[in-house]
Symmetry: C2
Subunit: 208 residues, 2 copies
Amino acid sequence: MRDLSHPLATGMQVYPGDPEVHLQAALELERDGVAVTALRFGSHTGTHIDAPSHTISGGRTLDRVGLDELVGDALVLHVPGLADGATVTTEDLGDLPDRVPPIVVLDLGWARHFGTARALAHPAVGVEVARLLVDRGMRVLGVDTLSPDPTGPEGGGDFPVHEVVLGADGLIVENLAGLDGLPTRTRIGIFPLRLAGDGAPVRAVAFD
Amino acid sequence: MRDLSHPLATGMQVYPGDPEVHLQAALELERDGVAVTALRFGSHTGTHIDAPSHTISGGRTLDRVGLDELVGDALVLHVPGLADGATVTTEDLGDLPDRVPPIVVLDLGWARHFGTARALAHPAVGVEVARLLVDRGMRVLGVDTLSPDPTGPEGGGDFPVHEVVLGADGLIVENLAGLDGLPTRTRIGIFPLRLAGDGAPVRAVAFD
């Protein structure tokens, strides 16, 4: 099994404008007999899932997302060598099957930049790519960047890929890691904290 | 796939003395263009895993626990009808195989009391049960109670089962849910947030 999740740690990079990550001892072994940590972070921290309600008014919340939507044989597309701020085009995807599985993962080679300024300059997914994948059966889009849409220094702006995927009641998984060399068809599992709202941090794995 | 995790929500029950659970809107769709929630809770909230360092000085932290330890064909033992505060004995386990799989789950029928005062009066696992299971190959003990050890009104006290299991470098999963009727052999997955310390909330599932 391979871990497709970034570790969570105090001060780690977050999407601009999101809550900071802060982990602090609440109970200590020597003093209290047990060690327990107080955790503070946002629902879109690290490797995480966006429910439709993240950007869509009246959209589905995470409690209405079934585990069966989040585990399956995924299509993993490796699109290396993109420039900072580039846009992924339909040509970049190569020969796409007429029907794709419900989970599609784009490996843009950007997970290695997580935690650095260059993470913000990630390539974005073209809106026509999102439309094509949804048309062909994609329900969950996974990326190894902060967002499939461009991320400005202040965050925010327009979210055309979010509109297409979440607007179709689909899901987006951001900040995937460990995608290098994964086979084009890989059984993947996305396991969010059982939260009810706009999204949640996940443990994402590739099964052998 | 079946969900074996309790939902996380503001004000939910926690182990006495642990940090409270607080979820609050950080960004709002109408105002900010996206919905993001600020999360605050302890590392041992809801359905969660204890790393050895939770109660063992110098014990292994969660970053040293591999995903392969947390997924596999588990032995699920249903021990219904116990009284409040009862102790699970080796006799209660029935006919135990000479070797048990690395993951053993005890369904004491207590998940239904989660969130009520009766959750605190849960049955406890006898220390000789823990020793027997570890001797027979158990590495991960899952329970549907706040703890395999008795929980006092203030928490704390002694943790003999924690000492045996975590002291053997094993792991404990607490507050499992949804165990009713699971076959004696069930493929189970425990997927913690990727934290590095004493434990973490998990999404726990039973695979079909």
